[in-house]
Subunit: 407 residues, 2 copies
């Protein structure tokens, strides 16, 4: 039994199914078979020059997003200028500039090897030159480099420029929690949204199907449809057949989920390392999701509960992160070897850090200031395990004692 819509769709797709996951690069240059999305987006008409895009950052996630964007600027010439600039922190590879390699070989051999990049993606080592004439800035650099980059851009960006931050997370200080998008807005005076989702970069780069969430609020000086960046424009900019985008308003929600999931992943690593199995890991994720929601509702009451359990940037990113990655690895190693977090990081991560270790401390300090540590038992226990050698076997009891999520 098949309903009418389904029948039509099946007819259209079979027997010559034109879908090509995960080899969808086949149609990257020949038009997408995803008719509905395409036609919806074709309906957007601009009453101004097409938008010029610059991606700031060229690590594996930065380059992957730049690839996505440059594919779409080819696809929607009425909306976007074809050439996309990508600011690259200059490095020499076998004596050659990384930017020159990217611009001739069309691969980022250092950070995203073996992935072909569109020829309209132009690497540029000069930050200020790369943003010349840009209407949309896509920030995608490691968290710790953001302040320096923002400092360099101060006074150089026109106020009508719009931005999307692909950095996950927030900064927590004694004054409170600041979203990275708000930081960009405050420092540069431009409207900034965020992109976050269950997106392990290598899988997206290979065009394996995934989803993401883009969050953006129209600014007070929004110039109107066809004149300014809005949800439709952002969908056209980021959505690909292999990278399904949902655009929402809730910048705070997706940023909070993106940061706190790393703390939850540490908890999953502990119980996995102790050999407690799938039930225990699922329990940690459930409790973690609850605390993420509570954190959001407490400190960003404007964020929507649905964002956490319904968006790719919420529950899906939590699941992906808790099924592997740096935080899980470090925490498992701690459980198995009884080494502390910093020894485990040193042994496993070759000088890099597991973000959850930094975040759980920031979160603890902020909750302590608010006298609310007891209301976030999982976050608190993870902090106590990492920083005060609390025995991780006590995790279930601590969670039970400190208090259930809803009371």
């Amino acid at each position: 039994m098949i309903s009418r819509n389904t029948t039509t769709l099946l007819k259209r797709l079979s027997p010559t199914l034109r879908i090509a996951m995960p080899n969808s690069h086949l149609y990257a240059h020949h038009g997408s078979p995803f008719k509905r999305t395409e036609s919806t987006q074709s309906l957007i008409s601009l009453n101004r020059n097409p938008f010029k895009i610059t991606v700031i950052g060229s690590g594996n996630w930065g380059t992957t997003i730049a690839k996505v964007v440059a594919e779409n600027t080819q696809h929607f010439p009425h909306l976007f200028q074809k050439d996309v600039n990508m600011w690259v922190f200059q490095e020499k590879i076998d004596g050659e500039n990384l930017t020159d390699i990217i611009n001739t070989k069309h691969q980022n051999v250092k950070y995203l090897p073996n992935i072909d990049l569109p020829e309209n993606l132009i690497a540029n080592p000069d930050l200020l030159d790369s943003i010349k004439g840009a209407d949309i800035l896509v920030f995608n650099v490691p968290h710790q480099f953001l302040p320096k980059i923002v400092e360099s851009l101060k006074g150089q960006v026109k106020p009508w420029v719009r931005a999307i931050s692909c950095l996950k997370g927030f900064e927590v200080g004694k004054k409170g929690v600041q979203l990275l998008s708000s930081y960009i807005t405050d420092e540069l005076g431009i409207q900034c949204g965020a992109l976050s989702g269950a997106n392990l970069a290598p899988e997206v780069a290979k065009e394996h199907w995934s989803e993401t969430t883009v969050a953006y609020q129209l600014p007070k000086d929004y110039k109107g449809e066809g004149l300014d960046v809005d949800h439709k424009v952002l969908k056209a900019l980021f959505h690909r057949p292999y990278f399904h985008v949902n655009v929402i308003d809730d910048v705070a929600g997706i940023s909070i989920a993106g940061a706190l999931k790393n703390v939850v992943a540490l908890g999953c690593g502990f119980v996995e390392g102790l050999g407690w199995g799938n039930n225990a890991s699922a329990a940690i994720q459930r409790i973690g999701l609850g605390e993420i929601i509570k954190f959001g509702q407490t400190f960003f009451p404007e964020s929507r509960v649905q964002t956490y359990y319904q968006e790719s940037a919420g529950v899906a990113d939590l699941i992906t992160t808790c099924s592997g990655g740096r935080n899980v690895k470090v925490a498992k190693h701690m459980a198995k070897t009884k080494k502390n977090a910093f020894e485990a990081e040193k042994e496993l991560l070759n000088g890099q850090s597991a973000q959850g270790i930094i975040t759980c401390k920031e979160v603890h300090e902020w909750l302590y200031t608010c006298e609310m540590t007891d209301e976030f038992p999982l976050f608190e226990v993870v902090y106590q395990i990492v920083y005060n050698n609390f025995p991780m076997e006590g995790l279930p009891e601590m969670i039970e004692e400190l208090g259930p999520i809803e009371e």
Copy 2:
């Protein structure tokens, strides 16, 4: 920085941390260190004889739950009669009755080998004899045996008896969706709740920490606190230091989640088998959670959205099920070998079946009757892949085309 409550707790726990996960059998007979729970439950006083419990079913999950229950009846003598009956479908093991083995060796050598059972758990091969004098029946048999058992019990159960169903799921016919707990209520005339959670039986049997959800609504003839089964009594009956219980009202919510997760798990198996990776599996789980919520809201509007994203029986059970188990295995095998669902089942499951294959058909037929297949694109695509050989590579496009979850 540690808050006051945390300090007290840490003092109490360290350095002689009395927790014993996963070896918590150490205190199973010596009193739990979980003071708060224990003292809360000790406050319940009965104005009647202690409740007598019978567990109906002795597979691996049945025996595991019987073990949990029998530990608690030892622990709360003022609430429960110590001896717990477990109805066992009689089998001969090397010429000996399975019930005799259980009652002398205190192990269910066939379905839960190497796990010691409490001596107050009494195996009984006679169904009617096993329920004599019982105040609470815990149903825990394979779905397909339920009708016959219920038939045998008809007219034999006093109306004031209460029941909990540990069977996952519901029956969907052309008339609609019936919860198994409602089926028990309708057939036997007794109030019935449900128990469901992220509970792989072998892990719970080994006393590795996990969580579960019990749902129960007070009946119209509820006799009052101290006289009848209520949420506190059920918490005392099922909660263990290694098995954390949350008791809620929403029987429909946990039953729906318990059934539909198996359909989602098939979807995860497909994308895993295609080699699409963690992002894709997380996307399927996200979409699946959304469709589970929508299904619940549509057909059981009294069920609460929070149950799905906040309870062990909701999001946690979904995550556990999608990280392994029969449904994922069969679907992966289909993707890798291009065999159909029934061939894959035959090759992998040795005559058993993957529940999602039955459920996705029942769900499709019901949604088709309601002309709503298009509103549940994941459920529909899984059905089309299993029953109509729809190419699974088309899954993302079908989901995109049939319509987003929220519009």
